[in-house]
Symmetry: C2
Subunit: 168 residues, 2 copies
């Protein structure tokens, strides 16, 4: 979910030698070529899911693989249909990063990235949008959940433990 800390987790994966493919970037690449005038990224994503199926962003992301390695992570999975696509090319493990809405909203308000809003109603609406894509099912079926509810150091420690369990 937005503001949970998944990018920080992805950076730790990179440090451990993983190739991280951002599903958002794979989507954005297609969006820049293909979107309708004035269409929002989220609406574009919904539209291509309707045309090509719920797994389409996973397939666009798989296209981004350039090397042959098993240490690949896809950042930004939103539905179990996407997980099914990854199962066609390997044996994916799902890692979910969790923080409460309250914490996520205050972090997003603090960091103020261009696409983050500071209005809690807008942030909540965006959460419900993500949930409508099916992200909740992915979290429910996760192999690992990292709870990011204290310090960055604590989160890094928990994340590193989990990455080591995965690599074992």
């Amino acid at each position: 979910m937005p503001g949970s800390g998944k990018t920080l987790f992805a950076n730790l994966l990179k440090e451990k030698g993983f190739t991280v493919i951002s599903m958002g970037d794979a989507l954005r690449k297609r969006y820049e070529k293909d979107a309708k005038y004035g269409e929002r990224l989220m609406d574009y994503a919904k539209r291509i899911r309707e045309i090509y199926g719920d797994g389409v962003v996973a397939r666009l992301s798989i296209e981004e693989i350039t090397q042959s390695t098993t240490k690949i992570a896809f950042e930004g999975v939103r539905s179990l249909a996407e997980v099914e696509e990854f199962k066609r090319i390997g044996e994916p493990l799902i890692v979910a990063i969790h923080a409460s809405p309250q914490l996520r909203y205050s972090r997003m308000t603090a960091r103020m990235r261009a696409d983050d809003s500071t209005d809690v109603n807008i942030l909540r609406k965006r959460d419900l949008d993500e949930i409508s894509l099916g992200i909740g099912g992915v979290i429910a079926m996760a192999d690992y959940v990292v709870v990011n509810d204290s310090t960055v150091e604590e989160f890094k420690k928990k994340s590193t433990d989990i990455i080591e369990r995965i690599l074992r």
Copy 2:
């Protein structure tokens, strides 16, 4: 999700003075009076949700409150629509208990409760049924997540910490 350890968490809540209302029991009570011949509990739940709305099992559960106390826990929330019903009577906090499907399936196979199956395909099908009710959205929006992936003792410790944070 089935087999994650939510009943164990509910028992700890009881020890701390909470009244725990099982949403499954509230549903079952109505089911026993009202179900069609041969209808499964889950199918009955889906049917009454279609008739009365996605929050109906929460409303049946709220009917079960007999004392006036703020220390009430509802076990078995399956959708954000149910959370909205609870918001009408108070300020609910969501606690999700997480364990990986692999762990949950092996625990359910070991305990063999009446409504547990040992066939992984059936367990997975039941998971997807729960997800179709909207449980993933509830987990995604949880205020607290307890990860139940090691021993019972460890889980009890983490749970007690969280209950104490809630009561503070």
